[in-house]
Symmetry: C2
Subunit: 196 residues, 2 copies
């Protein structure tokens, strides 16, 4: 049985962490991105199916290709961010199940079942996207997740001819606190939860 993390750590990953919109001119190393993936991939997914795929857009050329498909309001910050992650999921994730979940034939749960494939990829790919956001903060990075982009455009640009589909984007880097908005209100416990 573990103790709670200390207040500074709880603040860093949840209570004080904020979505960032302005970015310091400070790169994120490839080693840090590898450490980020090594952490997030340990988060649980159903039958260890691990459907999320991460394209870390770092180069100026790749950033230009991405920006064509990003909403107006997200352009400036995405241009400034040292890295933008395309959080995607693989609709053929079940091909890896003999390796990822070797003790039973989990691949057969999905073969030919489009609804189960789509739902499992989207649910668990989203869980892994959330693990990425929290893992980034735990590693001292700031995150700026975004849904405002043309999904089909990004898929054509980066994933044409593959079973990968984009889910959301997330700027990563070292944020400038001056660009953070006021904290938006949250629901109360009773509005979002119940103990029965």
């Amino acid at each position: 049985m573990a103790d709670p993390l200390n207040d500074a750590a709880l603040g860093q990953i949840f209570l004080e962490a904020r979505t960032h919109n302005s970015w310091q001119d400070k790169p994120v190393s490839d080693d840090t991105l590898r450490q980020l993936v090594d952490m997030l991939k340990m988060g649980p997914t159903s039958a260890n199916c691990s459907p999320a795929r991460f394209t870390f857009v770092k180069s100026a050329d790749a950033k230009e290709r991405l920006l064509k498909h990003v909403s107006e309001g997200n352009q400036k910050k995405t241009h400034a961010a040292p890295v933008t992650a395309i959080v995607a999921y693989d609709l053929e994730f079940y091909e890896n199940l003999p390796k990822l979940f070797p003790h039973t034939d989990a691949k057969s749960w999905f073969t030919g079942s489009e609804t189960a494939i789509q739902e499992t990829a989207f649910r668990n790919g989203s869980l892994q996207g959330a693990y990425m956001i929290v893992a980034a903060r735990a590693l001292g990075l700031d995150a700026g997740p975004m849904s405002g982009f043309n999904r089909d455009g990004v898929d054509q640009e980066f994933f044409a001819g593959t079973p990968l589909r984009s889910n959301f984007l997330c700027n990563l880097g070292y944020g400038d606190p001056a660009g953070v908005y006021d904290r938006a209100p949250r629901l109360s416990f009773d509005e979002m939860a119940d103990i029965v």
Copy 2:
């Protein structure tokens, strides 16, 4: 710019954390569940839409009602867990947007658009479910998320006549390390990520 959390903290929330299947006979207080919600709700969602709803099943009566709809293989551990969270999402989440995202008319993005509603609720409700798992570990709890249950049955049993839909279940409590399975393999960096 924050430092990375120390190794013990990174271990507790990701690197050493494990899905639990056996539970100590030790209750989880309502105060702890409230603290859990206070943390997870600070995680980001698109336009702060916050669609997840959490039903913490604690009483013997409610647990029996839930167990009727849980897969055979998940019965024993769910019975033993002091709390099972039904992680759900609210298909009428957009009704809260005037309060949650007051500076623009975000509610109008969703009114009458079933696809946008379903997709946004499922994506962001899943993100919040992942925040719950990591926040639980950060608070010293153990988690055991599960997809093996009858979704329609749970929705009829707990959410009949409401716009809430179950997403996944998650046992919460203080795990018995003896019940943890061997760590399943994960994909390599190159199998799940790319830097471009």
